[in-house]
Amino acid sequence: MTKVLTHSVTRPLALFAAALCLSLPLAVPFATPAAAQDGPLRIEITEGVIEPLPFAAPVFEAETSGSAELAAQITQVVADDLTGTGLFRAIPQEAHIARVTSFASPVQYADWKAINAQALITGAVAVTGDRVNVKFRLYDVFSGAEMGDGLQFSGTTAGWRRMAHKVADAVYSRITGEGPYFDSRVVHVAETGPKNDRRKRLAIMDYDGANVQYLTDSSSIVLAPRFSPTGDRVLYTSYETGFPKIYVLDVASVNRRTLNTPEGTMSFAPRFAPNGQTIVYSLTQGGNTDIFSMDIASGASTRLTSAPSIETAPSFSPDGSRIVFESDRSGSQQLYIMPVGGGEPTRISFGQGRYGTPVWSPRGDLIAFTKQSKGRFHIGVMRTDGSEERLLTASFLDEGPTWAPNGRVIMFTRETQGAAGEAALYSVDISGRNLKRVRTEGAASDPSWSPLQ
């Protein structure tokens, strides 16, 4: 029951497929014995569009008195996580024929087949003091077998949503073969006030908008927070001194400090290296903006570009060996890749329009970007050599993509036009499917997705 499964993804995914596809049953060969135990239930990412996979998640059993409400809430969050991907569809509990009275009792597959549930998720919740323990099992209804082993997670009752996200992550990963991402957070800028007097403060929340916490007040403009590779710190730009400067904030203590940059300069667009010790950022001096790196501990900076053009928005490759950035050295904003220590960059974007804010996928295979073309803004992805460009969105103003920890979903800022224009967070699959607004308390911009917690 407490065995922790690891899930190996051994097949390259067809990332540039026209859409996500669900093909069941499908016997996919796995390389690892653990994975080979999995049944044929599987959402395969390939071409074509098929209906979301129907699943049943009867309310988790309350194993202790007083845990019924929490059990219902956890079941709901599990279902919301899965349906929120657009890959799954929950069969309403009212339609269920079978009643799961005990987590331990055998599954009546015929009753679940009858309502065409392809996957069945059962669970049990026990509360002891301020601790909650959540168990779950996943069944492949049509092959009449459990899919993977049961798992259990425990934590504080206050952190119950994380338990639910972990259950949903396990289900999602087993069925899609993709890495998990529900148990993650998003740091962003919360916005209030009219367009000509916008108030901004840093906020952090769960990936689904729950558990919002504000990290700064709105006395100074704050911009573009970026998570550290372990999610313990956030880099951001603040006008606290009257001039844009980079700060690093400890998420647990909310303590912040400014990073050392020369007097009379402006610094912004910081991002962590995968080692968590080095950052890259833009520095404007004498009207010219170039890219520098800095060792956070010593504060020592190294110049990486030296050109009269604008060089900004740097982002590391996940192996830390290269940096993708934008430059207008060709006459318009385009994307370039250079070695981590600087040196001759290689241009990778060649399409019509302007390309900015490149962000390397945590998988290493893709670069997400903002594209401006013919008065519209798009979020897109391309391979790291610039090939296979795909635009995922289009609007008056989309910008600033950030990757889910599994490299399958992108979150970004969408701002509406006009005097009442307002920013909101949206997410979209890298297939371009499942575009949706992310729940926030008010207007929001500049999301940065944390690693898996």
Binding site: I221, S282, Q333
Partner: protein, 170 residues
């Protein structure tokens, strides 16, 4: 000729002043500024040594074309007048704010605002203002003064604004 240029400047500056904002100096002295006996009220827009006069009569801002930071002829005229005023009023320093319209990504617009502020600063220096009195800051697209999403608003947001402060640069 010099007087004519000056007069034109004041006219155009007054037109611009209609949309200017007092960002550092509160407008606690009534515009118009003439006392009951017709004398100039110190600190008013009629007082040629006042920041209000700088904002309204000299013109505190210059505008830029889309994605550009080169100074137009009109911008140079405004900056000429700014330089004269700054040299005549040596107690003031200035922070030049560079701004962009909303049609661009956040980081690029910060860099572009930096270019615009610097273009104004460099020009003021060529006209004799001490570099030690002039600092720049970019706001990118963070502080539009006009909020519609059409070119008439964008044109006013693509600006470099010379904001006066009393005393030395910190």
């Amino acid at each position: 000729m010099k007087h004519l240029t000056r007069a034109m400047l004041i006219v155009s500056a007054l037109a611009l002043a209609a949309c200017s904002q007092n960002e550092r100096f509160d407008n606690d002295v009534a515009l118009g500024g003439a006392g009951a006996n017709g004398a100039i009220v110190p600190g008013s827009a009629n007082d040629p040594t006042s920041p209000l006069y700088f904002q309204s009569a000299v013109g505190d801002r210059v505008l830029f074309a889309v994605d550009q930071h080169t100074l137009s002829d009109a911008a140079r005229l405004t900056l000429n007048a700014q330089a004269q005023w700054l040299m005549a009023n040596p107690d003031y320093t200035a922070v030049i704010e560079g701004h962009a319209d909303e049609q661009g990504t956040r980081e690029y617009n910060l860099a572009l605002g930096g270019r615009r502020a610097n273009a104004a600063r460099e020009y003021l220096i060529t006209q004799g203002v001490s570099p030690a009195r002039l600092r720049t800051v970019t706001y990118g697209k963070e502080r539009p003064i006009e909020i519609c999403s059409v070119e008439s608003c964008y044109a006013k947001n693509r600006r470099a604004v010379t904001v006066l402060a009393a005393g030395a640069i910190s």
